[in-house]
Amino acid sequence: MMNDKFVVVGRLERPEQTVTKNVPWYKEHPVVAEMMLVILFSGCFLGIPFLPKDPTFMDILKYGIAPGKEFFFGTDTMGRDIFSMIWYGGRVSLSIGILATLISTAIAIVVGAVSGLAGEKADTLIMRLTEILLAIPNLLMVIFLQAILGTPNPITISVVIGVTSWMSIAKVVRTEVRQLRNSEYILAARMMGGNFFYVLWHHLTPNFISSIMFMVVMQVRSAIVAESTLSFMGIGLPLEIISWGSMLSLSEKALLSGNWWIIVFPGVFLVGTLLCITEVGNYIRKRVSAGDSML
């Protein structure tokens, strides 16, 4: 039957080649970080009704109790349950952290892109203005803006923080856009009639997002901490609103006493959250970066 094999049969349909992946899906994703973030966010935003204690209630005679059965994470110097405070405070802090970051990133991207796409003169103008803003003390701007916006609430606070902290990112965006703007796909989109925001959102942002990713993640941290600084100066959120920032600044006082739990838990949650966000950011960065090292 050998001869059958040597018959011209021409082109035949062959089933699609199945690709065996080297890496299982869970290795590609930072699964642990993603899970933690899900737990954290759902805990902070959905879990409040299920908290064991009222986070604002000061059981003032039970101050400084070490972690135990009643108080999982102990109590602070005013007898509040740290466990409950963390979830409750997380809601405010994460909202502010993320909202402020979104605002500052959005401003940074728009300003950076406008400057990057503009001609030399407009570019110089915008960049010098950015530098001038960079040189005005943040504190002054914050006080000024807060006064304009009136009574502080998480949204105004986010706006204030966001509006005062976009400058560095804008400068980086501008540099990136300068490199990207010569790409032909930008030209193509323009020719098809895409306007500035279309090009910015669909073509520029996906390409430079990786280079500002880390700055953006760190912005979340800065915003959370900045919120507590504002409270400290009397232009922050009302006192009864607990946030991670205010917990951290309270813990400064507990630093030298033996009440480690007052410092450790909010600290761990903040650092942990940021680690997770960084991890996810890193994953995104790697996914879009160009191939392997040549070294």
Partner: protein
Amino acid sequence: GGKASEEKAQTKQETKETNNTLVYASGDYTRINPAMDEHGEINVLLFNGLTAHNDKNEVIPSLAKEWEYDKTSCTYTFHLEEGVTWHDGEPFTAEDVKFTIEAIMDPENGSENAPNFEDVKEIKVVDDNTIAFTLEAPNVAFLDYMTMAVLPKHLLEGENMQESDFFRNPVGTGPYKLEKWEDGQAITLVKNDNYFKGAPNIDKIVFKIVEDDNAKAIQMQSGELDLAQLTPKDAQNFKDKDGYTCYDMLTSDYRGIMYNFANEYWQKNKDLIPAINYAIDRQAIIDAVILGQGMIAYGPLQRNIYNNENVEQYSYDTRKAEEVLVKAGCEKKDDGFYYRDGKKISFTCNCKVGDQVRVDIAQAASQQLAAVGIEMKVEVPSKIDWGGQEAFLIGWGSPFDADDHTYKVFGTNKGANYNSYSNEKVDKYLLEARQTEDTEKRKEAYGKFQEELAKDPAYTFICYIDANYVAKSNISGISKDTVLGHHGVGIFWNVAEWKMN
């Protein structure tokens, strides 16, 4: 390794040398200007007043060796010590005294201390060593106010009393003189060998600028400081440490909720203040906020000899609080709060920015009030509207004459009456006490004043706060029993007698 050991040797050497140097953790100074600024620990080391206080806070002679009082003309005549010289060698005279007090009184200069000398009618230099003050009305506390530091006329005449360079190179008559001032770091004082009361024992005193509470505690531990006022929590760590001595000093420094009667709210709801007074568990607040380092407060003079214990103390009693409310026509609604005329009993208490103890007290009190059915919101505004606010968490305290911080605080329209409190009887008793020298009479007047104040409370008194000083054990002479003032100021009153061994 080499460097480290070198450094160790250096620290050792430093300790040897500093054997006679005392390093004190101080707040920052932008200038040393006793005439314009009220508080200032360092003033007492560099300057003297005509009078001074002893360990019981009684008035004793200082630059003035003796004085007379002429009742009819309300005139004090002071006889000054002779042969006293300024640190720069110039002689000290009555002209200097006149110059200083007039500078304070001059409204152009905007001195914080001006109210103390409101009633000075005339200052007369009799001769180089004699000076006479004529008052408009009798004022027993005047001698107290004459502890005011005297400044050298020859250096300050014609100078701007706010902006002069003198206040960064102060020259006084005090036991120590300024050696050098490093901005933001340290102010070094050396002893004045020509001090008219005899040279002090400790050679050098360094006011090291350490503003952060944690840093103070740490530097105390690392041995870089010899003396510091710490928070109660930090001070506790030194209780059983070798080589350190803790001084838990009593103070006349109290905290309370001040109701602003210029605000319509309290004009209408004045009758509810007793309910608030009853509703606060002061001991719990003291235990939690200041770790028990304090005392329950019910009046402004508890650390004073004229204290009257037999007044309504408003001890913690929630039942009574609710009774007051019900009597006043309030109704409790489902949300747990009382309402009067359909309006919730609710007000806002402001705290000063940056003072966490006050914030904590206010928050704790707020919660206790809520338990009874009164809402008190706590805010920390960046700028305080003294005329318009509803309430404020106030702190006062004078360790000295009972007149100080009562007359001007509770008297109608007086300088420090921030809440427009006005009670004729209170005014009367305060004036009475001020104008008599007779201790018994004063005691009676102050007693009545306190009773009246308890009946018609201006504040809800909460607590007195102790000051926690920690010192190296080799320092002797710090008097434990003296009652200190606002913010624990006053520990250096007898510094000339301190020793280090």
